[in-house]
Amino acid sequence: MHAKITQMLFSVIDELNQLRPPDEHLAKDLETPLAGDSGRLDSAGLINLIAVAEQKAAAELGRPLLLTDDRTLSQVNQVFRTLGTLADYIHLRLNEQNDG
């Protein structure tokens, strides 16, 4: 599942890069910083990331994903620190759905 989540996030990055100049494209790399002090996304970029990731999770993973709840937004800088931390968090949330 983690590999599928990573692929899904890479397709999110493809979408976001259409909105950015070539020299500001985000790398499809789990180490790519997103939010926080060294993050590459401003608030509008983060909103787009959340909206597109939720859409693609439904379309590509067939699973609903909620990234605007209090639990996620209260730890934005941790969850969205890098593409890798976001992938881990999505993995965790989807596993919790399975457990539930």
């Binding site: 979408e15 259409q18 909105l19 950015r20 100049p21 070539p22 608030s43 509008a44 909103i47 787009n48 959340i50 909206a51 597109v52 939720e54 859409q55 605007t68």
Partner: protein
């Protein structure tokens, strides 16, 4: 094509940052540089010419609003309170006046029509009821807006509904709205960016004018040389036949909008022409085609020959062929010709043609609507040329009449179109909106004439523009523009005679024509270099003594209309 970016002011009551990202980062021509107006204040922005966003006459303004932000009574309608339709339309009129006033500050303005979120259908069955349904009201508001804005030649109302349909289920995004005041999903913004770039492409004079189409398996199903025209798949009660007939219908609709149709096909010419003449289901007739090359020669060479015959450059043409090998060959050899990827399935041909976004014109003139007839007349002229002994005899027998008149409201649309799309015989290649051109021509020291050309074979319409700027005792030819349809008949000399004789009447000392080179206007330079009576050349400036006579060519009947 030029590399410059065109400035676009974004005026909205919502967040257009995603739209700005798409248009700014799309590498295709024309480049657009977005300028954001103050966020969420469309009315205040439309009323204040002094805002920084309006400085330096932006090329484009996009004014994209939700109805409730500019038509205040719409808020009451959203609560299903009763508001007389007349009151709603009155506010639409007021908003339209603001837009028309603003249109003087930019070259072009785009106003996407209003839409309601598609999830808002709680009283679905009443949606289309007059004075009750919101959908009915918003349709009437959009219609009123379009009618009002038709008064401004440089404002275009865009059909937002098309973008919503293309975006499908993701068109409206409550999530993006609550998080970022972005009402639409990104697919809507992508579709809007495509449409606006396509429109601007046409307005800048780069609309395609010519479709070159193959015959076998493209215009009809089957190989006419093998099967005979009676066995072609075309029309009738067959899904493929219907699709081919619809494809022809789509081509015919393009022709009715001024796009020239031509054929390049590997076939026996007589067999192919017989099929076009005789097949009862042919939608397109032989007279719908401005020319053809039907033979066994290389298609690239045939396309070059055909475009030379029509006096059009490769940047004007679209090549449609079912054969991927032929498409690849043309794409590689003639990179300026647009060669769309073509579906294998003929059922998709009509939709593929009608979804091409390269034919957009900012306006439609009488000349556009009869363009094929004009080219057929040109074929007759060429036929006459072959039968006479000299150029002078041919020109005399054409009985050419040139009607010269100044710019006015009735010829402004066509003159602006000619100004913006003529590339070859164009001295300075200025690009201006209708309002800008009229404002320029109305200045006291400026004069601008349009020329309509006709002869015994037909009327070529308004095909020439020449303009002068008078400075002290000098006259500068600013625009010298002639459609390629009438080149080489000494209309060029007639244009110069018109301008120079006017300058002479003012006692002008010298007449100057400064050539501004572009990638395409070398024919204009060549004309001035070989012109008789001669102009003196200094670098890229051509100079003529104002006292020397410059007569109208003898074979031209000149009609001056005040």
């Amino acid at each position: 094509m030029d590399k410059q970016s065109y400035t676009c002011v974004l005026v909205s009551d919502f967040n257009l940052q995603n739209f700005a990202g798409y248009v700014a980062n799309d590498p295709e021509f024309p480049g657009i540089k977005p300028i954001s107006a103050p966020f969420g204040q469309p009315v205040a922005t439309l009323l204040n010419r002094e805002l920084p966003c309006w400085r330096n006459t932006p090329d484009v303004a996009l004014i994209w609003t939700r109805p409730q932000s500019v038509v205040s009574v719409f808020n009451a309608l959203l609560r299903y309170e009763t508001v007389p339709l007349q009151k709603v339309l009155q506010q639409v009129d007021e908003y339209s006046s603001m837009l028309i006033n603003m249109s003087q500050w930019v070259r072009y303005a785009f106003v996407p029509s209003w839409v309601l979120p598609s999830y808002r259908s709680v009283f679905g069955v009443l949606e289309m009821k007059t004075e009750i349904g919101l959908t009915n009201t918003i349709m009437q508001m959009n219609l009123r807006l379009a009618e009002n804005l038709a008064r401004a030649a440089n404002i275009y109302v865009l059909n937002t509904h098309n973008w919503i349909v293309q975006a499908g289920m993701q068109a409206f995004s409550p999530k993006l709205w609550y998080l970022g005041k972005i009402p639409f999903g990104n697919e809507v913004f992508k579709a809007a960016a495509r449409d606006i770039k396509a429109a601007l492409h046409g307005m800048l004079g780069y609309a395609r004018k010519l479709i070159i189409v193959d015959l076998d398996e493209t215009l009809w199903g089957g190989i006419v040389g093998d099967a005979g025209w009676e066995k072609l798949v075309l029309g009738g009660h067959h899904h493929l036949g219907e699709a081919y007939a619809d494809f022809q219908q789509a081509l015919k609709s393009m022709q009715n909008r001024g796009i020239l149709l031509t054929i390049v096909s590997k076939n026996e010419e007589q067999i192919a022409l017989e099929a076009i003449r005789n097949h009862p289901e042919m939608v397109l007739k032989l007279e719908d085609f401005a020319g053809w090359r039907i033979n066994w020669q290389d298609k690239v060479q045939n396309i070059i020959d055909l475009m030379t015959e029509l006096n059009l450059g490769p940047q004007s043409a679209v090549f449609i062929d079912d054969n991927p090998v032929e498409r690849a060959r043309v794409k590689e050899s003639l990179p300026e010709v647009l060669v769309p990827d073509w579906p294998e399935d003929p059922l998709l041909y009509p939709a593929t043609l009608l979804s091409l976004r390269c034919f957009e014109l900012p306006s439609l003139s009488r000349e556009d609507l009869v363009r094929t007839t004009m080219y057929l007349s040109e074929n007759k002229r060429r036929g006459l040329k072959k039968t006479v002994g000299s150029l002078e005899e041919w020109l005399t027998r054409l009985a050419i009449r040139v009607q010269v008149e100044e710019l006015h409201s009735a010829n402004l649309q066509r003159a602006t179109q000619l100004l913006n799309k003529t590339n070859q015989m164009n001295l300075s290649t200025r690009r201006m909106s209708e309002a800008e051109l009229m404002a320029w021509a109305e200045q006291e020291h400026h004069r601008l004439w349009t020329l309509r050309v006709s002869d015994k074979f037909g009327d070529a319409g308004l095909t020439g523009i020449v303009s002068l700027e008078i400075q002290d005792r000098s006259a500068h030819i600013v625009d010298f523009i002639l459609s390629c349809r009438v080149l080489g008949r000494k209309i060029e000399e007639t244009m110069l005679a018109t301008a120079i004789q006017h300058a002479q009447a003012l006692g002008i000392k010298n007449v100057y024509a400064r050539y501004i080179p572009t990638a395409k206007n070398k024919p204009c330079l060549d004309f001035f270099k070989r012109l008789e009576p001669r102009f003196r050349q200094q670098g890229e400036c051509f100079i003529r003594d104002g006292k020397q006579p410059f007569p109208v060519p003898e074979h031209i009947e000149l009609i001056l209309t005040p």
